[in-house]
Symmetry: C2
Subunit: 234 residues, 2 copies
DNA sequence: CGATCTGTTGAATTTGCTCAAACAGAGTGG
DNA sequence: CCACTCTGTTTGAGCAAATTCAACAGATCG
């Protein structure tokens, strides 16, 4: 079960780590594949492992008691996920679903404390990661409190461009299959509204849609829309 | 600048800590008072200190570029706050305002790394705290995505009851001055809507309002309303 | 090739916001 | 003590954004 150092060397979480420490860490890692649509772990399950995404994209979802679903966050390559254990939780707070075929490393949760103990920089990095995640959550709360749907959708798409954008001749492609429903669940609206918004944007030449596909043609225009202080876009 | 151990002994963050460690920690602490309405720190300021609230209540707010305000969270006694430094940030992401006269301990941010190094349990506790905060943020996102305003307000009030409730003969009093505007900023709505909701609740005998005052008469009824799966309350 | 999934679009409806006006209570100063 | 002001609260009316309802079209897949 050899995992090569170069696979994770570029990950911010590990870039300050000495080679031998990194090797010791990787010695306990198991690599795992998740085909598109499969679940890596489920909400409520005991958190037996924590993960690092190497390739692909995951959606972390939560289901409410009355069956409604939201996407808590999207996991991109290089992101640590499922580390409930570090936050002193015994179960996963959400369900991780592969949005595209994905590859990840998995460590047994039991090992976390000893890792942190022996590799202090890991604790610092982990703390930083959680801190960023908290900030993202606050950003989302702020947007949901103060912005109308169209601007929220614009912000969400721009974040996707940033995290999962692939440059093409005609624009920037979101690099994994994503539906209107998904975007609705990320912005707190309905797929109907998202569909209408995308149709309007398409008419304006900002984006180009398609079944589970999204190509952003005019990032600047979209950003202008996202930052516009109410009613200037006409 | 002596700070007594007993002041903080009950705080979860410190309850597993040895006496001598705690004393070493407290040796560097400075106590500080914030009269009602005063700011403890401002959004964007360099994060020179981190704090522990001993007494009172604070609101942490963020202002959007176009001037709108939201309340990111409410700080209650025993909560650590303003520890941006632990998350590797150099400035405060929000503004902390005293909702009531408050007393807190302050430590220079510089000391955080050495504290964490010498007191490993502090790192674990801090991580846990941030984790809980992240979960709260996700709960709020979930509520804002899936629930109508009335239920969100109900949930918010119930959280206040839990964190800042004071038992009285007639019901449970929220133990610090809080306005409709505040609750609007916590739930992502307007003070008008909150006022209307409270008026309706008052008519039903669930709560009793007043200028910056809130007395919850029927916690169970409120909880029923908060958990009702759409349109059953009539 | 039917069945299913995703997306589109119109129409009716509703929620909650904006605008507007008035009111209540606490504190202030004459 | 009373008029005045400030701040927070209440309430109505109209309106707009977004949801719900509904029907359909095009892809995709077994």
């Amino acid at each position: 079960m050899k995992v090569d150092r170069s696979l994770v060397r570029h990950v911010p979480l590990f870039d300050k780590m000495a080679d031998d420490q990194l090797d010791r860490l990787l010695a306990h890692a198991v690599s795992r594949r998740a085909p598109q649509g499969s679940q890596v772990f489920k909400q409520g399950q005991p958190a037996r492992s924590f993960y690092l995404l190497l390739h692909g994209h995951l959606k972390v979802m939560q289901v409410t008691s009355d069956g409604q679903q939201i996407i808590v966050r999207v996991v991109h390559p290089g992101d640590l996920f499922g580390f409930a254990i570090a936050l002193q939780r015994s179960d996963y707070p959400g369900t991780a679903v592969a949005a595209a075929d994905s590859v990840m490393l998995a460590w047994p949760s039991d090992l976390w404390p000893s890792f942190v103990e022996h590799i202090p920089s890991l604790a610092v990095s982990a703390m930083q990661t959680v801190g960023q995640r908290l900030e993202e959550a606050h950003t989302r709360i702020r947007e949901m409190s103060t912005e109308e749907v169209e601007r929220r959708v614009a912000h969400t798409v721009l974040r996707l461009v940033d995290k999962a954008g692939l440059h093409e001749k005609r624009g920037i492609r979101i690099n994994f299959p994503i539906s209107r429903q998904d975007i609705a669940e990320m912005t707190g609206t309905t797929l109907h509204t998202v569909s209408r918004i995308f149709s309007a944007w398409e008419a304006k030449g900002l984006v180009e849609g398609g079944r589970q596909k999204l190509l952003v043609l005019d990032v600047v225009g979209l950003a202008a829309l996202a930052d516009s202080t109410r009613r200037e876009t006409d």
